[in-house]
């Protein structure tokens, strides 16, 4: 049976229910057993009538990237939707409002821009919403009804999913939504002749709908933090990280934890380091501008060897930049932001599952290696929703990673004892006899400030040495594709990995010797594995979403070879097609 792999976009203006329609659709298709990867984009300004797009790829096979070209566009707002036409497939399908309240001025109607090859279905969203709900607010739900009717999706199942989604709402709201769905469904069945050949072929999942968790990267990070016994979250709201704070504000107190909204990001990182010093797991989440502010105090975490976790969800920069556009341009800041030699641990998840994994890992590593861990998300990853299998929760070892001092070590307690692996026994304030000085100044083994060249060297060695242990804690990067004679080797990081992985597989299908590798651990870098991979590649291609090629620059010093860069700063995630194009060029 042919596979289903369909990209849908719902496009509307703020307040038209675009994102919620996308969410309902994604949830229902997930219940039907499809793989889902969705991604919403919306205007930066909180108020106003900007463009909202719910982008959703629905597939019967494993998917790793959101898909560049749209198969089905549901246009809730004509003007905004016109700008989405350029990303439609040549034989795409458009569902639009055929009976708006008034005439569109010239060129302001999506139906006026439909090109041959595209199939367009005009459905009177406005009229049907008025009929079903007495107002035009439910146009989004009418559209979902029309969508279900057009593509052979059972209406009762869809309505059951909607009921579940609206379970907490008033009965009248649930009913008006169900009525609107039914109106859209019925009208379409009775009035529209299907002209396209697109159907969703139900995946084989047995009879029971698949049990999956639908969540985005931010939710996964928050869930990972909660499951890792997070005690304190301190943060200042900023797009695209705010959602993490919102979730934790609700959930953390239920588990006896604390959420503090601080006056700014400096204070937030201060709180986190304070809590970490006190032996509690603590975290903050921010984006570029906030992360820049945190660099000063984050050095303290390194120097005073205090566990701290910062989640930085990258957006377009520099400065306040492009708040609702995705970019991977804070790598340099994450690697080197702050004074002195302050290497820290950096994790870059590639997808929603890894967001959870990295959150759990971050607390473990921060605690075990007594230092700062930065998780690099980005706008796309923060907001991309996937239906994932229930993740494996952190085990006992992961939850208790602190190396407490032994009884005889307490006698002459050296908080910063120089050890073979660089990790010193760490007493938690309140431990009898475990008192020590914690400072941002260079210090001796007891923590006493000391600027002697020998001490600084010894302590720097220790702080760097302990990080090499991290390499053993994080799974080695997977090597996808042939192991020898590779024409194009793709090496990337973070959320670009999904597209790169897919592009590599597609290239392989068309006979190109392409291989792919992506480290989740960015610092310290698993140089050995990367070098082995690189040695087998004729051309090493590094695709990433920044202008300079920050990751390419970072690995160059380890690899000492030419690196081909593929950089994009469009504000959108890189697509498999973009990377595949480049691979094809390399392969000739």
């Amino acid at each position: 049976m042919a596979e289903t792999d369909i990209v849908i976009e719902i496009c509307g203006s703020s307040g038209e229910g675009t994102i919620s329609a996308g969410e309902i659709l994604a949830r229902h298709m997930s219940r039907l057993g499809f793989e889902i990867l969705s991604f919403d984009s919306y205007p930066s300004e909180i108020r106003g009538f900007g463009k909202c797009v719910a982008h959703c790829r629905i597939s019967s096979k494993k998917i790793m990237s959101p898909g560049k070209y749209t198969d089905i566009l549901i246009a809730l707002n004509d003007i905004h939707s016109i700008s989405q036409l350029s990303s439609m497939k040549e034989n795409g399908i458009i569902i639009y409002d055929s009976n708006p309240l008034s005439f569109h001025e010239e060129d302001k109607s999506i139906a006026g821009w439909i090109e041959p090859g595209i199939t367009a279905y005009g459905i009177p969203f406005y009229k049907l919403s008025q009929k079903a709900a007495g107002n035009s607010r439910n146009r989004n739900i009418v559209a979902l009804g029309a969508f279900a009717a057009l593509f052979g999706i059972n209406d009762n199942g869809f309505k059951a999913s909607m009921e579940q989604r609206y379970a907490s709402k008033k009965k009248s709201i649930i009913e008006s939504n169900l009525n609107s769905f039914t109106e859209g469904f019925r009208w379409t069945k009775n009035n529209i002749t299907k002209l396209d050949n697109l159907f969703f072929k139900k995946p084989e999942t047995g009879n029971a709908p698949l049990k999956r968790l639908m969540m985005n990267g931010n939710q996964a990070v928050a869930m990972g933090a909660l499951d890792s016994n997070l005690h304190l979250y301190a943060g200042y709201p900023i797009t695209p990280a705010t959602k993490i704070m919102e979730i934790l504000a609700r959930e953390l107190p239920k588990k006896g934890g604390i959420m503090i909204q601080t006056e700014d990001e400096l204070s937030a990182i201060g709180h986190v380091i304070g809590a970490g010093f006190a032996g509690k797991r603590a975290m903050t989440a921010t984006s570029g501008p906030g992360f820049s502010l945190m660099t000063e105090l984050s050095g303290l975490s390194v120097m005073a060897e205090v566990p701290a976790v910062i989640v930085n969800s990258q957006r377009g920069g520099p400065s306040t930049g492009l708040p609702t556009k995705t970019e991977q341009s804070d790598l340099n800041l994450a690697l080197a932001g702050g004074s002195g030699d302050s290497r820290r641990i950096i994790l870059a998840p590639a997808d929603v599952e890894e967001c959870y994994k990295c959150a759990c890992l971050a607390f473990y590593l921060a605690e075990k290696f007594q230092t700062l861990v930065v998780i690099l998300l980005d706008f796309f990853l923060s907001n991309s929703i996937k239906n994932i299998k229930e993740p494996e929760k952190p085990d006992k070892k992961m939850l208790n990673a602190n190396l407490a001092p032994l009884q005889d070590e307490i006698k002459d307690y050296k908080r910063f004892k120089v050890t073979l692996n660089g990790i010193s026994p760490r007493s938690i304030p309140g431990t009898a006899g475990g008192m020590f000085i914690a400072t941002g100044l260079e210090h001796n083994e007891k923590g006493k400030p000391c600027y002697a060249a020998e001490t600084h060297k010894k302590m720097s060695d220790k702080r760097y040495r302990k990080l090499s242990g991290v390499l053993k804690e994080v799974p080695h990067p997977e090597w996808i594709g042939p192991k020898k004679n590779i024409k194009a080797g793709i090496l990337t990081w973070g959320s670009t990995a999904g597209a790169a992985h897919e592009a590599t597989l597609k290239a392989g299908e068309s006979g190109i010797r392409a291989a792919f590798m992506r480290p989740m651990l960015i610092s310290p870098l698993p140089v050995e594995q990367i070098k082995k991979f690189s040695d087998q590649c004729d051309v090493l291609l590094v695709p990433e979403l920044n202008y300079e090629g920050q990751f390419a620059g970072y690995i160059a010093k380890y690899l000492e070879r030419p690196i081909k860069r593929l950089n994009m700063v469009t504000g959108l995630p890189m697509s498999a097609e973009d990377i595949l194009d480049e691979i094809c060029k390399i392969a000739g």
Binding site: N99, F103, E105, E106, D107, K108, A111, I114, E115, G122
Partner: protein, 341 residues
């Protein structure tokens, strides 16, 4: 800044296309827009039968590709229907609720199926073949048809029957003299056609007429005036074309059977011209109007209408009689001609 002229053409057939080329050639800066309610780009209507029978692809049906319009900076709006014209304010209203302003307008809406009033009540039982969509819809059904009834009176129906016979179908043919199109049949001509058809073992009914039609489990049944019962899986209806102008009526543009234009193809509005199958053209010699039809004729009129709108004074004269041949039967037609590409 002064707004650019906007030449809008309704209809993407030979008349409309030729007009658009003239506008573009003569006015490089103006906006030129073609609006067509068909979703398929400009195609040879006379090749529809070959398309239906599967002997040509839809690629070879096309006259021009969408890209050709883009290259010439002509905005082609396909699958869009004009529902109303407001000539006083120079605005068109489209079915999908968009308004378009024009400075000059060409009506080239062609013809639509014409149904005899006596059979209008049975329209829902008929299959038609006047445009791409109808051909496309018929295509999959055709292979399952064993016995077809053709109610016809036009040149297309005769070609169509030939195609059905070649495909091994059993055909019953009502030859309706009164509605024959685009010519009138003489007694002699219809007898000629009938005898040719009979030679091909086509049941041809010449002096009888459907009075009632039923849908049955097996298909359709026609009861004739003489009480005969004719059965078939499908009924094809061909009775020529009539100007497609319903949406223009009542707009203020003068119409009768077609859009009334003078010999320069101008309507009663100085910035609105009509051409091709939708126009009803005044002939000062006969002091009467004539309705145009045929591919080449539409092309010539499209050119003339556009040139006259741009300031020339070209006159359209009825095309001289031509000999038209269908299945070896020669018929005179003033407007019809086999197209040679």
């Amino acid at each position: 800044m002064q707004k650019k002229d906007h030449y809008v053409i309704i209809g993407n057939g030979p008349a409309g296309n030729r007009a658009s080329e003239i506008f573009r050639e003569n006015d490089k800066n103006a906006r030129v827009t073609i609006i067509s309610d068909e979703g398929f780009p400009f195609y040879y209507r006379h090749k529809l039968l070959d398309f239906l029978s599967g002997s040509i692809s839809d690629e070879s049906l096309q006259v021009k590709k969408h890209l050709d319009y883009k290259k010439n900076n002509i905005r082609l709006r396909l699958g869009q229907t004009v529902t109303k014209i407001d000539p006083a304010n120079r605005v068109l209203f489209l079915k999908h609720m968009e308004k378009i302003e024009y400075t000059s307008l060409i009506l080239a809406t062609g013809g639509t199926r014409s149904i005899l009033p006596s059979l209008a009540g049975f329209e829902k039982y008929f299959s038609f073949m006047t445009n791409y969509n109808e051909a496309l819809a018929l295509k999959p059904a055709l292979s399952g048809i064993k016995k077809a009834i053709v109610i016809g009176g036009d040149l297309i129906s005769i070609k169509f029957i030939k195609m059905l016979i070649n495909m091994g179908k059993d055909v019953s043919f009502f030859l309706c003299k009164e509605g024959f199109w685009p010519i009138e049949l003489t007694e002699k001509m219809s007898e000629n056609i009938a005898s040719r058809m009979k030679k091909e073992e086509i049941k041809t009914i010449l002096d009888d007429y459907p009075v009632n039609i039923f849908q049955t489990n097996a298909g359709y049944e026609i009861i004739t005036e003489n009480g005969e019962k004719i059965k078939g899986d499908i009924i094809f209806y061909f009775m020529g074309l009539k100007p497609d102008i319903d949406f223009i009526k009542g707009s203020g543009i003068d119409t009768a059977e077609g859009v009334l234009v003078d010999e320069y193809l101008k309507t009663n509005y100085k910035n609105i011209y009509a051409c091709g199958d939708c126009a009803q053209i005044y002939n000062p010699e006969f002091k009467d109007y004539w309705i145009s039809t045929g591919w080449d004729n539409a092309t010539l009129q499209g050119e003339t209408a556009a040139l006259n709108l741009l300031g020339e004074h070209k006159i359209i004269k009825p095309v001289p009689h031509k000999i038209f041949e269908v299945e070896g039967i020669k018929v005179n037609t003033s407007w019809w001609k086999e197209i040679q590409e």
